[in-house]
């Protein structure tokens, strides 16, 4: 039989499409491998769900004392909370690769990725999914379902369009922040993920409406670390109708992406320049 005549090649041929396909294929392999460690997998999701439930209880406690904070009712705040879990969960699910940068740099595993004819970032992000995000996404959906009917949402074509723009932009902001923060490992080599954990902590501020914070902090969360775009601006569009801020959210998303990419490039150049 003509085995040598079998010139079949799996997957699409055009380069960009092929890279995307390979990314999906790597994620698929990773998922299969990860699911074979059932206990660890369930523990990860369980622990994450517990954390979020505790956060929700805290929110409830705050609003049981004070029925409305700076014009935001409990249900409006819950809506914002649910949006944050969805947006951040989405970014975390596909952003797990960033957390492996520190280890890859410290142990010199980046060498292996540099030897393959694929962009290094594609290989990093193809190497893992953020499983704990499943709990966030599930809980976020539940909160949105419960809180939605209690909030007078301004439904219009404009609101839907604004959400379509704002939610991916918010996810981009968080995804970029994690990439940039983890890329610092190229300089520190060893202090792994410290800055990224710090930034994740800062993103917790987005669980509450922006007006509860001092003006300076609110400014930082809009202009410097634009985590307000994760939840506050989309939620305000739902509650009060789309405004300028929500239409400008792609600027925050793309701007963050550009900054993160520059930090990553500089870090990688440093690695290639100095070695492991």
């Amino acid at each position: 039989m003509g085995v040598d005549a079998d010139r079949r090649i799996h997957g699409p041929r055009p380069y960009a499409l092929r890279v995307l396909w390979l990314y999906g294929r790597m994620l698929g392999q990773h998922a299969l491998a990860r699911l074979s460690y059932e206990t660890d997998f369930l523990l990860t999701i369980g622990a994450s769900a517990l954390t979020q439930v505790l956060g929700l209880i805290f929110l409830g406690v705050v609003f049981s004392r004070i029925p409305s904070v700076r014009g935001w009712t409990f249900w409006q705040a819950a809506l914002l909370y649910g949006l944050l879990l969805e947006v951040r969960g989405l970014a975390a699910a596909f952003g797990e690769g960033a957390w492996s940068i520190g280890g890859a740099v410290a142990r010199g595993e980046l060498d292996r990725l540099l030897l393959r004819p694929l962009p290094v970032l594609v290989q990093l992000y193809g190497g893992g999914l953020g499983w704990s995000a499943i709990a966030d996404l599930g809980l976020g959906a539940a909160i949105l379902a419960v809180a939605g009917p209690h909030v007078a949402i301004v439904w219009s074509f404009g609101t839907v369009a604004a959400l379509c723009v704002a939610l991916p932009s918010g996810a981009m902001v968080y995804w970029s922040a994690m990439l940039a923060a983890n890329s610092i490992a190229f300089w520190t080599v060893g202090a792994r993920g410290t800055v990224a954990f710090l930034l994740h902590g800062v993103s917790e501020l987005a669980k509450f409406p922006l007006p509860v914070y001092p003006r300076l902090l609110a400014g930082v969360l809009t202009w410097c670390l634009p985590f307000a775009f994760l939840s506050f601006y989309p939620a305000r569009a739902l509650v009060a109708g789309p405004d300028l801020a929500v239409w400008l959210s792609p600027l925050a998303g793309l701007g963050s992406l550009l900054c993160a990419w520059l930090v990553w490039r500089a870090g990688l150049a440093r690695y290639e320049g100095t070695g492991s």
Partner: protein
């Protein structure tokens, strides 16, 4: 044009200078001081397609750094590299399609995945046609015996299995150049033999270009036809194995065990053979000489005629001795003939 061409290649690392302890760390944080460490110093190297070149030098001599420069992982500080006509660092992706590399003590495979899955992913990354891929699997099963552990996760493989798996993975896309960084480190003798046989076959039958670094001198004699010695970031020697033997490994030692030796000065017997050194060690007469300057049969004939010899032993200095002398800094290659 040569497959690999390095010209005045340099690589310097910046290492932080830090006093020990907490106070040293704090002081370093406030006023960082660095030291430049030269890992590769003006290296000129040219490797033709189809050559198997062994790269030898003490730990820290710059071998691995050179491999990383040639594979495009690192950017040179100065100088140029051309691999198959490309700059391997700037044209990393294009270069990666034509080369492969294994690093002895570090696996290139995903620990969580079964070997078969990893190989299939590599097939897709390099767009290897299905027929050629199946043929590759058959070859690797026949020679490396990987079929026995294709379905096991890589983390469960023994070192010997893992090294074979790494080699199978490196060759999925039929590379033109295979870089091997200490391919046999930590392996048992049987696996080493198997690996070397496979490398020999790749080199001789497929014409694969193989630059390899090693500390195991049998790797050199079994696989390579050219030896490059570096030490302290500099090229010490570059030539064929035969040239190395004829230039630096010329000493031959003959030992004759003699019944009832008289221990007389053997100079008289050996007169006319040429420059030899002879001495008694107990009842053994030891004769050492340059094997290119003195004829062994002449020495042997004279000794046999003069004494009652009961046993006889011959030893030549090998590549191993040359390399050992380099490692111990006892061989000045420049003085003994220098570059060819």
């Amino acid at each position: 044009m040569a497959a690999i061409e390095a010209r005045a290649l340099c690589k310097a690392y910046r290492r932080p200078l830090r006093a020990p302890g907490l106070s040293g760390s704090v002081r370093h944080l406030l006023r960082p001081r660095h030291q430049d460490i030269v890992a590769v110093d003006h290296l000129d190297l040219s490797i033709e397609a189809g050559e198997a070149v062994c790269y030898v030098g003490p730990n820290g001599a710059g071998k691995s750094t050179t491999i990383k420069l040639l594979t495009g992982i690192l950017r040179p500080t100065a100088g140029t590299v051309r691999v198959l006509g490309r700059d391997p660092h700037r044209q990393r992706v294009a270069n990666a399609r034509d080369i492969a590399a294994t690093f002895g003590n570090r696996s290139q495979l995903n620990w969580d995945l079964p070997l078969g899955e990893s190989l299939a992913l590599l097939r897709d990354i390099y767009a290897v046609p299905q027929g050629r891929y199946r043929q590759h699997l058959r070859t690797c099963a026949d020679i490396l015996g990987i079929d026995a552990f294709l379905s096991a996760p890589v983390r469960q493989l023994s070192l010997g299995q893992r090294v074979r798996a790494d080699l199978a993975a490196a060759l999925v896309h039929d590379p033109k150049i295979l870089y091997l960084d200490e391919p046999t480190v930590g392996l048992d003798i049987a696996v080493k033999e198997r690996l070397r046989a496979f490398l020999r076959q790749l080199h001789r039958e497929r014409g694969l270009t193989i630059p390899l670094t090693t500390h195991d001198l049998a790797d050199i004699e079994d696989v390579c036809d050219r030896l490059v010695i570096i030490d302290q970031a500099r090229l010490l020697y570059d030539g064929t194995l035969r040239q190395v033997r004829d230039r630096f490994a010329r000493e031959r030692v003959l030992r004759f065990v003699v019944r009832q030796p008289d221990r007389a000065d053997p100079a008289g017997i050996l007169a006319g053979c040429g420059p030899v050194r002879a001495a008694w060690e107990g009842d053994t007469l030891v004769v050492a000489f340059d094997r290119l300057a003195v004829e062994s049969p002449a020495v042997t004939a004279r000794v046999l005629r003069a004494m009652d010899v009961v046993d006889f032993h011959l030893a030549d200095a090998g590549i191993a001795d040359v390399v050992r002398r380099v490692y111990e800094r006892r061989l000045d290659l420049a003085e003994e003939g220098g570059q060819p």
